[in-house]
Symmetry: C2
Subunit: 874 residues, 2 copies
């Protein structure tokens, strides 16, 4: 029979997939002899089984749970449901990877009208017992039965008003008993049943609720954001309750072995005396810095510090821990590798190498390349910042600078971004997991309450999103959609606000930003990455400015220079439009003659910026009609400027219209119809190269033909390009060499790669188009479809962001294999969006590409991801 339930003493850290990360680490801490409240774990396989069995827990699994429960009773010396010595349990979720706040937890399980009395007697603390009971009823009601939390809170608030007190802890035992009764009434009213008085019923229901929570909306969204397959499922950990709220020698806290904001090697965290864990995380009471615990409970602090040392050494990584002190005894409730800012991650990695804890390889592999993004985000321009006066200060919860319009709900923020393309700052009292999507879309997040480990702070750091938390000087009213600053100024939705996530300052203005300054740690990590990576890293850049920025960030060449982007600029589009509407070859050539000078200058700028590095220039790709005016008035204006009748220009625009432009007259198809376009572009590229070579650089243009689906296209266009180029080179007596290659972005080109390779010096995989055509899914129209597909759990991630390895990847593999069969020396790169995505970069290493190319700010990510990909295969 399959084993679905494991005692902590039966597990270890290696069993993460089966037990979930949290439980595996509890088992590991148990193995290390650290003080852990014991318990057991219902495995992720049981979760899968739960869904396979139509959302029921199979009898055999229930049986195993009961057996583990008995073992836990024995360890604890308590008995589940025994009023004289009741065992109380916490029920928590735990997936393979941490999904903070995404799923549900139930505490104090096992309390009933009978056992609560026993607990009161046993602890000699009826107030504590009823406080625990009412918390349990509320959690169980909320998590298991879906009762609105608000209804319970109203009972508590009313009791406080009735007793004329402000804080929960001013209520005494009798008040709490009354609150408990009120909670039970709320429960019965909402669910139609009495609160269950059988602890085993409570237990099974709670376990089911955790399984169910794996599929709640925010968990699905989180998985999608983080590429977590829904098939993994969650485990459920059932653990003996310990209490931080049993008096002044009790407490609870969270801590990191190093500072997660900047990486400093110091114990970092917060605790609350006489409180339960949720009080810290929820950010309702403001906790104390962990260092002060040394004075309050010196022995406990000493023990904790030693445990931190042991754990960090053991895991070889900065740990994020939860602990509870129950009547002076320390219990470890959790340890895991701590989330950290990008700057902290780099510093910790570099420090741990210098401390001898990690090798360089290990250190590189521990980093999350995507996180580097945050380091590269702009900060406010120094001058503007100096001139600005902050209106308030909060906690510097997640670094970066953000400026945007205020919205007070995640929904409104999302709508503003999605529907109106606004830049948004999300302003909330506190955030909750429901706000996840709004946070992801906002430039930055501002909260009025909560600490550095509050939901907003943790999530924002994970996202690399600027966040100022706990700005309590600000009065935030989400319902009225207004915020009032200490000076009494009021802000409404749509007003501008700027946040500095590194200082916690809040400004009532739209502050200009400037580029990030990169630290020595960053430089060191990049240096190590370059040492270990096999693949080159190039950039997608269309202008000398972009090229220069990418060079600073370590790009080794340009992997994609889109020549059409050069024409969208106001002063050029006019010349370009003349070419498009030309009706004869002669008229087109004449219009192209006007354009060639502009193109040549563009390339001169780019070649100069890149100095001796290779530059891949893609010849004209998009459908011509993309460049045309759209509205009637715009057409009329253009017609007038061109001296053409409106009717005629309307006709031309009409004829250029396509039903499916993504699969229409674009890419090299344009050049088969109008060879003079690519001829002009080749002239511009090669003439520019001649100029820059004469200035003393070793130019190396790589001319790329897009959208090839048949070798004949490339054969014909290669001949045109080579003829054009060689004439110029020979006339100018230039020495540089150039290459002619193609984008592989059409499924047929991948399938027939062996036919195409003989005519290509290099391939660059255009995975954006390849993904669209392989799926038959237009990126422009995918929005609603993808949303529905995430909901239906057909897709876990957007295939245009993360390469679909199974489908699109198979075509890429085929293209590589077939090309190498006929031309082993062919150059291979990728220039789709996936070139900057770490998981996709790993696949590029797998299939042996020579380089990846991505947008300038993703170059460092790609350097690190490429190094990791190489190291994983060592």
């Amino acid at each position: 029979m399959t084993k679905y339930v494991y005692l902590f003493t039966e597990g270890d850290a290696g069993m993460r997939n089966l037990l979930g990360g949290k439980a595996a680490n509890l088992a590991e801490m148990t193995r290390l002899g650290l003080p852990v409240p014991q318990g057991f774990t219902v495995s992720t396989e049981a979760c899968t089984r739960y869904y396979a069995d139509g959302e029921t827990i199979a009898p055999e699994i229930q049986e195993q749970i009961i057996q583990a429960l008995h073992a836990t009773e024995k360890i604890s010396g308590k008995e589940f449901g025994n009023p004289k010595n009741p065992l109380l349990l916490s029920i928590r979720s735990g997936a393979r990877v941490s999904m903070p706040g995404m799923m549900d937890t139930v505490l104090n399980l096992g309390l009933t009208d009978e056992t609560v009395a026993g607990l009161a007697k046993l602890t000699d603390n009826p107030r504590f017992a009823y406080d625990s009971y009412r918390r349990f009823i509320a959690m169980f009601g909320d998590v298991v039965m879906g009762v609105e939390r608000r209804a319970f809170e109203d009972v508590l608030e009313k009791q406080k008003r009735d007793q004329n007190v402000e804080l929960d802890n001013e209520l005494d035992a009798e008040h709490m008993r009354a609150v408990t009764d009120g909670y039970k009434e709320v429960y019965k009213k909402a669910t139609g049943s009495d609160f269950p008085q059988d602890p085993r019923t409570q237990l099974m229901a709670a376990i089911k609720a955790v399984f169910r929570s794996w599929e709640n909306e925010r968990a699905q969204y989180y998985r999608r954001m983080n590429g977590i397959p829904s098939a993994w499922g969650t485990a459920v950990t059932v653990q003996i309750m310990v209490y931080g709220n049993m008096g002044e020698d009790s407490g609870t806290g969270v801590a990191f072995t190093r500072n997660p904001a900047d990486g400093t090697n110091e114990l970092y965290g917060e605790y609350l005396i006489n409180a339960q864990g949720e009080d810290v995380v929820a950010g309702v009471r403001t906790p104390q810095p962990i260092a002060t615990l040394r004075d309050v409970l010196p022995e406990v602090y000493q023990q904790f510090a030693e445990i931190c040392e042991i754990l960090e050494q053991h895991y070889k990584d900065m740990q994020d821990m939860e602990f509870t002190i129950e009547r002076g005894k320390l219990y470890m409730l959790q340890t895991r590798n701590g989330k950290r800012t990008a700057a902290a991650a780099l510093k910790i990695a570099v420090d741990m190498v210098e401390e001898g804890m990690l090798s360089r390889e290990e250190a590189l592999l521990k980093l999350d390349p995507a996180q580097l993004d945050t380091l590269l985000h702009p900060t406010f321009e120094a001058k503007a910042l100096k001139a600005a006066t902050p209106i308030a200060k909060g906690l510097p919860a997640s670094p970066g600078a953000a400026t945007g319009r205020i919205y007070f709900s995640a929904g409104a923020a999302s709508a503003a971004v999605r529907e109106r393309g606004e830049k948004v700052v999300l302003v909330r009292g506190e955030t909750s997991p429901e706000d996840l999507e709004g946070m992801a879309l906002a430039e930055g997040v501002l909260t009025g309450k909560g600490g550095m480990t509050s939901h907003a702070a943790v999530v924002a750091r994970g996202m690399g999103k600027c966040c100022v938390a706990g700005a309590s000087e600000l009065t935030i009213d989400e319902d009225k959609k207004q915020m009032i600053d200490p000076a009494g100024k009021m802000y409404g939705e749509g007003d501008w606000l700027s946040l500095d996530g590194s200082t916690g300052q809040v400004y009532d203005a739209q502050l200009p930003t400037s580029d990030a300054e990169l630290t020595d740690d960053f430089a060191k990590i990049m240096e190590w990455s370059d040492e270990y990576r096999r693949m080159g890293v190039r950039t997608n850049a269309d202008s000398p400015g972009d090229a220069a920025r990418a060079l600073e960030l370590g790009a080794e060449g340009i992997g994609l220079c889109r020549t059409e982007h050069m024409f969208f600029e106001e002063d050029r589009i006019f010349a370009f439009r003349k070419m498009i509407v030309a009706e004869t070859r002669e008229a087109r050539v004449k219009a192209l003659d006007e354009i060639i000078g502009l193109q040549r200058n563009d390339f001169v700028g780019i070649f100069r910026a890149m100095e001796d590095r290779p530059v891949v220039v893609r010849l004209l790709d998009p459908p011509l009609h993309e460049f045309l005016p759209r509205t009637d008035k715009e057409i009329d204006d253009l017609a007038a400027a061109l001296g053409m009748t409106n009717v005629k220009l309307h006709g031309i625009v009409e004829r250029l219209h396509e039903l499916n432009p993504m699969m229409g007259h674009r890419g090299c198809r344009l050049a088969i119809s109008y060879p003079e376009i690519y001829e002009m572009q080749t002239r511009a590229i090669i003439e520019a190269a001649v100029i820059v070579e004469k200035e003393g650089h070793k130019v190396h243009p790589e001319i790329m033909v897009p959208l090839v689906c048949d070798y004949r296209e490339l054969e014909i266009l290669r001949e045109l390009i080579v003829k054009t180029a060689d004439e110029i080179i020979s006339a100018a007596d230039a020495k540089f060499t150039y290459e002619v290659g193609t984008m592989i972005e059409v499924p047929r080109a991948a399938i027939l790669s062996n036919e195409i390779a003989p005519f290509a010096d290099f391939y660059s995989f255009g995975t954006n188009d390849m993904t669209q055509m392989t799926y038959g899914l237009s990126r422009d129209d995918a929005g609603k479809i993808l949303d529905d597909y995430y909901n239906a759990r057909i897709m876990e991630a957007d295939p245009t962001a993360h390469l679909d390895v199974n489908g699109v990847g198979a075509l890429l593999q085929l293209a590589v294999d077939k090309a190498k069969d006929v031309k082993p020396e062919i150059g291979l790169g990728i220039c789709g969006e996936h070139g900057g995505d770490p998981a996709s970069i790993d696949f590029c290493e797998e299939i042996g590409l020579d380089y990846v190319s991505c947008s300038p700010y993703r170059v460092p990510i790609a350097r690190l991801a490429a190094a990791q990909a190489a190291l994983r295969r060592k």
Copy 2:
């Protein structure tokens, strides 16, 4: 050294690829001891070499030509360029397959000012000698140097006017000498040089001209139409001239061993006494039926009839021959398998089997399945025909009925069809190869001159296009764009005309047509086909009427019933639109409830029509917006009818708009978003099946989910379909079974077929979409692109008509292999347009599909093609 030149005595019929079809058959006839004017052939490889060498004939090939020339001189006892006994040659093209009239010919080569005098003396016939010379000058001028033919004709016309005669043969020797001088002047004026007096120069120039003609526009177009690769090249045949114009004991003719119009086993053809071959083909003089030759030259006729017998027995096929009689001696100039009408092809095949000449397998393999199309085309409705009075009668050159608007040039006809979607009848004096495209697009062709073997007749029969030729009662003026009938009535462009290609009658009206009546020969061929084919043949039919027609034509089931077509009917679209614009599930379900009855009735009709045969029903596929009104006014009207504001409906229509609808929210994606649509359709299908089963039929619905790109889609929708269907079947206590399958039409589905197959009882390959996505080429937008691609010789054929075996075919093969790996019993079919294309059907056999499905009229084609495909693999 490669051998590029072959004497007739060195070849045989098996060397078709190297020598071209015509020369291979001349060699074969030589081998059989038949009277053939001897000569040699410059091979197709020499043509390829010619293009590879930059359109020059390499010295080694020139050398081989000269050697073969010497050998030919020896055989003939004449000498090239010797005025006393000059050898004269004909130079003809010849590709692997016959391309009638597509390439160029030069006759009488070797004549010069010197040799013409010798010829005159030798034949004692100066008139003949100068007539030959002037013909040579004109042909050489036209074919080799591009001089306008018209200019030569003007000289001849002027001479006739000057001499006051009407016919060429009324001119005497002196007149012809004067015409010759005039031709030389025309030549010099047009080319700037004297007419070449060196026979070898003439020869090499003529060979080059033939090579060049392989790439002329009409040859390219013909190859594209017939799927002939341009890489094949043409051979050049150089042959001793024989003359049919040397008096009353000379003549020339063309004949078939059987009647090419109806297949009757009789010698069939025409000849002219005292004429050259071009006189017959051009249709200028009206030739005599071959039977009359028996009386005119009985011995020659007897010899010819015997040769016909020998050739037909030898080739086991009806032969199409050219012959010349020179002073009473018969020469065979050509034999080849004769083109014939579809009815003739069937009759000949059946007769030859009955005569014991062919086995059934051989007979089937000799047929061209595509030709059956013509048998299935409508004829005029008998009643309408009886009521109509013909305005004129021509030759019944190619059977069928055509009705359309008159156009007098191929260009105008093409434009009318392409740009305005008109039905067109092309009316010409005579047609020429330049008219090919216009003929292909027209409903029918009417010519004023020419016989049953004139260009128009031969080409139209090949195309299976209705043609009335030589309607000399009509005065056709192409320049004035008018036609006058014997009664004096005048017709202009755009007027309606009807042609009966089976009777030669011409009507001045738009006559209604009715279905074809199929012959016993047809039935027998179909019966034999069914005996030998392995694959099933189904039809694509959306209505009971289509289904019934397909059944008559032999369909064994429905392979594709498109449910959306049912909604385009006027009275239904309204209900459907309500569903589309519904904004909630409830509103959508309500609208669907109105639709379900209509759908159920549709399926009842189709199931009844198909009786016990399987029916594949595809669930809703196209983007919803396809059903919406387009113009502002239409939207306003719909809004009013729906009681919705215009603004709101405009908004809905706007939101449904997609940039690339082919890759948008369509197919099963609609059902992932709105499962209620497929649920309704499943209900309608299954409820209809229940009704028809109760009527006593064995229904077997196969429900097909379109546009699957991920197995999860099918898993989810299969569950929905099965649940819905099983409930209905169980409630009705029905006994029938059903299947759930998917269209494989997205590249990703082919690649991941092993993941999808477990959820599919069957696959049907949707090769239309698969082709679009594999090429990244939208069929809606491909027009201009394909034209340019044909011109650039990137594509030889439209991949949406003829399956791209290399690219798209590779994906199909992959899908089949991967599906069979996991589910060997999976059903496999094809329902794209390719299911009715013989070459594509052959590929379907190759990859082991169970059936093909095509439009009703293509069912017979598919039956025959499937039989051939199976026989080829025996």
